[in-house]
C-alpha cells in the first residue's frame, strides 16, 4: 500500500529547501486548512444531493433533476442562493451569541476531520489520544446549537436547543464510554492510525465478535442521535417546532447549520469505519489470496470513502423510514437501556480481551 506520508514529506522537504522553517509551517497550515475547507464544502454538496436522490429513491420520485445532468448541480445552485440571501435576524436577538453560534457548530466537525486517517499516512493531525480528542471536540457542536436556540429569542428554538442538549449530552456517554472504549480495549491504543493498523488481520467488527457487534449497533444508534437525524431529529422536529434551533437563521448562517448536519453524518460514519470496519484497509477474506491481492490494488482513500458511503447510506435509510421518537422516550432509551447494556458490554469486552478470545 502507498504511504502518503512520503508524498507529504516530499512537499515538506521541497518547501524547507526554499524558505525558513517558520514560513514553511505557516504555508503548510494554510494548505491543510484549505484542503479541509474544500473537503468540507465538497462533502456538504455531495451529501446533500445524495440525500435528496436517496430520499427520492425511497419515495418513488426522481429527486432534483433540473440543474445539470440528473440534477447533480442542484446543491451548487442552492449554495449560491444561500450565499446571496440577506441575513435576516429577528428583534431582540442576542447579537453576539446569535452570530457566533453557527461557527461553533461548523468548527466541531472540521476539527474532527483533522484526526481521521483517510489513507496510509494521510492524517492531518496524528495525535496519540485521537479518540479522546474526537469525543472532546464533538461536544463543542452542542454548545453552538444551545447558543443558537438561546439567542434566537424564539420559544420554539429554545425548546429545540434544550432537547438537543439533553440528547447529545446523554448519548455521548454511551458512545464514548462504551462503544468506542470497547474497541480501544481491543486495539490497545487511542490513536486512530494505530487502531486502523491493528485491524490488518481483520476488522474489529468481525474479530471482536459478540461484544464488538453490540458496540457497533450501539455506536450507530448513538451516532444517529449525535447527528440529530431521524429517529432522533426532535431538535428540529419539523412538525412540532417548525425548524427547531435554527428557525431564525437565514442565508449562509442557516447553511452552516444545514451543512454541519451532513458533515457530522460523515464524521460519524468515518469514525465507524475507522474503528469497526478497518478504516482505509482493503476488504480481505481469509484464505482467498488472489482476491485479497487484487483488493490491495484499490487505494486506501477509495476504500475509506466507499465504506463511509455505506454507513452514510444506512443513516439515510433510517431517516427515510423511521418515525421520530419523543424526548422522554429518547432519554429512557439511553439511560435505561443503552448505557447499562454498553457498560456491561465493556465488561464483556474486557473479559474477551483478557481471555484472548479474539479471532
Amino acid at each position: 500500500m502507498y504511504d502518503f506520508s512520503k508524498m507529504t514529506g516530499a512537499i515538506h522537504e521541497w518547501l524547507s529547501s526554499l524558505m525558513p522553517s517558520i514560513l514553511v509551517t505557516t504555508i503548510e497550515w494554510v494548505l491543510i486548512g484549505v484542503v479541509f475547507l474544500a473537503l468540507f464544502a465538497i462533502l456538504g454538496l455531495v451529501l446533500v444531493i445524495l440525500e435528496r436522490k436517496i430520499a427520492g429513491f425511497f419515495q418513488f420520485r426522481l429527486g432534483p433533476n433540473r440543474v445539470g445532468p440528473y440534477g447533480m448541480f442542484q446543491t451548487v445552485a442552492d449554495t449560491v442562493k444561500l450565499l446571496l440571501k440577506e441575513l435576516v435576524s429577528t428583534n431582540k436577538v442576542d447579537k453576539f451569541l446569535y452570530n457566533v453560534a453557527p461557527f461553533f457548530v461548523i468548527i466541531a466537525p472540521l476539527m474532527i476531520m483533522a484526526v481521521i486517517p483517510y489513507g496510509f499516512g494521510l492524517t492531518a493531525y496524528d495525535i496519540n489520544v485521537g479518540l479522546l480528542f474526537v469525543m472532546a471536540v464533538s461536544s463543542i457542536g452542542v454548545v453552538g446549537i444551545l447558543l443558537a436556540g438561546w439567542s434566537s429569542n424564539n420559544k420554539y428554538s429554545l425548546i429545540g436547543a434544550m432537547r438537543s442538549g439533553a440528547v447529545i449530552i446523554s448519548y455521548e456517554l454511551s458512545m464514548g464510554l462504551s462503544a468506542l472504549l470497547a474497541i480501544v480495549l481491543l486495539a490497545g491504543s487511542l490513536n486512530l492510525n494505530d487502531i486502523v493498523m491493528s485491524q490488518q488481520a481483520g476488522w474489529w467488527l468481525f474479530r471482536g465478535h459478540i461484544p464488538a457487534i453490540i458496540a457497533f449497533v450501539i455506536y450507530i444508534i448513538t451516532g444517529t442521535a449525535e447527528t440529530n437525524r431521524v429517529p432522533f431529529d426532535l431538535t428540529e422536529a419539523e412538525s412540532e417546532l417548525g425548524a427547531g434551533y435554527h428557525a431564525e437563521y437565514s442565508g449562509i448562517k442557516f447553511a452552516f447549520f444545514f451543512l454541519s448536519e451532513f458533515v457530522n453524518m460523515f464524521i460519524i460514519s468515518a469514525l465507524a469505519v475507522t474503528i469497526f470496519l478497518g478504516g482505509w484497509l482493503p476488504f480481505h477474506i481469509p484464505g482467498w489470496e488472489g482476491f485479497n491481492n487484487s483488493m490491495n490494488y484499490i487505494p486506501g482513500p477509495v476504500w475509506f470513502f466507499l465504506k463511509t458511503g455505506v454507513i452514510i447510506f444506512l443513516l439515510m435509510w433510517f431517516r427515510w423510514t423511521f418515525p421520530r421518537l419523543r424526548i422522554d422516550q429518547i432519554l429512557t432509551l439511553e439511560w435505561k437501556y443503552l448505557l447499562p447494556i454498553s457498560l456491561l458490554n465493556l465488561v464483556l469486552m474486557a473479559f474477551v480481551v483478557m481471555m484472548g478470545w479474539v479471532f
Binding site: 419515495q59 431521524v230 429517529p231 412538525s239 417548525g242 427515510w320 418515525p323 421520530r324
Partner: protein, 373 residues
C-alpha cells in the same frame, strides 16, 4: 401519562406558545395557544376564525342548487359526502326519490372520497410523527382516486358531483374498470402501509396510551366518526341511519374499545378495508337508469325544518335547514364533525408533551375549514 412528580424545589414557570396559525402541524390555519411547563402541556386553548368564510350565512343568500357548491369548501377532503348531505336534505324535503343508479354511484363515490381522505390522513399522520416517506406512499395511491374523480367529475378535490335530484353527469365509461384497478392495487398497498407505520415499534410507542378518550367523554363532547369509534362508541351513520345505498351493502362498523390515539389510528386503517369491501359489492351492480330526476329550476322547500346527517371521513356531518318557503333557506346550519372533535383536544392533551399534542391532533384528523366554516 408522563411522570412529572419528581420533587425538586426548583420553581418552574409556565409559558405560552402560539402553535399556529402558521404551523406545520396545524394543517391549515388553526391557532392553539398552549400553556406549557417545559415540554408538558397544561392547557390547550384553540383559537378559531382564521379561515372563517361565513359559509352558513352565504347559504341563506343562495338558492338550494347553489348551496351544494359551497359545501365543497367545508371539509375539502370529504367534498362529495358534504354535497350528498345537502342534496339528501333537499330531496327528502321535496319528497324526491332518486333512481337506484344515483344511489349506487353516490355511495361508490362517497367511499372513494373516504378512502382518499383516509389516505391523506395516513400520510400526514406519518409526517407528523416524523416518517416523511409515508406521505409519498399515501399520495401515490391517492393520485389514482383523484384521476378517477377527474375523469368522471371533472375535478379532483372539490368535486361538486351531486345536485339535488341526482348527479351532475353520468359516470365515465371507464369508471368501473378504473375503480376495480384501483381496488386491486390498494389491496396490495394497504399491507405496505401497515409494515411502514402501523407495526413500527417507534410509531406504536408514540401513539399508545396517548390522548385517551373515555366513552363518557366522547359522548359528552360530541365526538363522532372514527375518533369516537376508537373509544368503542357505535356511531356510524351509514349503519344506524342508512342513506343512499348503504342499506344494500354489508359492511362492518369498526369498533375498538381502547380509546387512545393508536386505536383511533387503527379504526381508520380498518375502515379503509371496509370501504373497499363496500365498493367491491357495488361496482359491478350499478343499475341502469337515469342519473338525474328532473327538478324545478328554482327549488323552493316547503315551510319547515329539515335535518339530514351523513358520515363523512371525519364523522357525523349534520345539515339543518329552516325554510320559510322562499328560494333560499331562512337558516342553514352545519353540524361539522371537526368542531366537536376539536373541543375535546384540551381535555385529552393535558399532561402530555408537545410532541404528543401533534400526534393527538393527527389522530383526531382535523380539517380546519371544516372547523371554521
Amino acid at each position: 401519562m408522563t411522570t412529572t412528580d419528581v420533587n425538586t424545589n426548583l420553581k418552574t414557570q409556565e409559558y405560552l406558545i402560539n402553535m399556529g396559525p402558521q404551523h406545520p402541524a396545524a394543517h391549515g390555519v388553526l391557532r392553539l395557544i398552549l400553556t406549557v411547563d417545559g415540554e408538558i402541556i397544561h392547557k390547550v386553548d384553540p383559537d378559531l376564525g382564521y379561515i372563517h368564510r361565513s359559509i352558513e350565512k352565504m347559504c341563506e343568500r343562495d338558492t338550494y342548487k347553489q348551496i351544494v357548491h359551497l359545501t365543497d369548501r367545508l371539509d375539502y377532503l370529504s367534498s362529495h359526502i358534504n354535497n350528498e348531505a345537502v342534496c339528501l336534505a333537499v330531496e327528502n324535503a321535496l319528497g324526491i326519490e332518486v333512481p337506484d343508479r344515483v344511489k349506487y354511484i353516490r355511495t361508490i363515490m362517497a367511499e372513494l372520497t373516504r378512502l382518499a381522505s383516509h389516505q391523506l390522513w395516513w400520510g400526514v399522520m406519518g409526517m407528523d410523527i416524523g416518517a416523511l416517506t409515508a406521505f409519498m406512499y399515501a399520495f401515490r395511491d391517492r393520485e389514482m382516486i383523484n384521476d378517477i374523480m377527474e375523469e368522471t367529475v371533472g375535478a379532483r378535490l372539490t368535486m361538486n358531483y351531486n345536485i339535488p335530484g341526482g348527479l351532475m353527469f353520468d359516470i365515465h365509461p371507464g369508471f368501473q374498470k378504473k375503480v376495480k384497478d384501483f381496488i386491486k392495487h390498494f389491496r396490495k398497498a394497504l399491507p405496505e402501509y401497515n409494515t411502514l407505520l402501523s407495526d413500527n415499534i417507534i410509531f406504536k410507542k408514540r401513539l399508545q396510551g396517548i390522548g385517551y378518550i373515555s366513552k363518557e367523554d366522547a359522548i359528552a363532547y360530541g365526538v363522532s366518526g372514527p375518533s369516537a369509534r376508537g373509544s368503542g362508541i357505535s356511531c356510524d351513520v351509514r349503519k344506524i341511519h342508512p342513506y343512499s345505498a348503504y342499506d344494500k351493502v354489508e359492511f362492518n362498523e369498526i369498533l375498538i374499545e381502547g380509546g387512545d390515539s393508536y386505536d383511533r389510528y387503527m379504526v381508520r386503517m380498518k375502515e379503509m378495508e371496509e370501504s373497499m369491501n363496500i365498493i367491491d359489492q357495488l361496482i359491478d351492480n350499478i343499475p341502469e337508469g337515469d342519473f338525474q330526476v328532473k327538478t324545478p329550476a328554482l327549488i323552493k322547500l316547503p315551510k319547515g325544518e329539515y335535518y339530514q346527517k351523513v358520515e363523512t371521513a371525519r364523522g357525523e356531518l349534520g345539515v339543518f335547514i329552516i325554510s320559510d318557503g322562499k328560494k333560499s333557506p331562512y337558516r342553514f346550519k352545519f353540524r361539522s364533525p371537526g368542531f366537536s372533535n376539536l373541543s375535546i383536544l384540551d381535555k385529552i392533551s393535558r399532561g402530555h408533551k408537545i410532541a404528543d399534542l401533534v400526534a393527538i391532533m393527527s389522530s383526531l384528523d382535523f380539517v380546519i375549514p371544516d372547523i371554521d366554516r
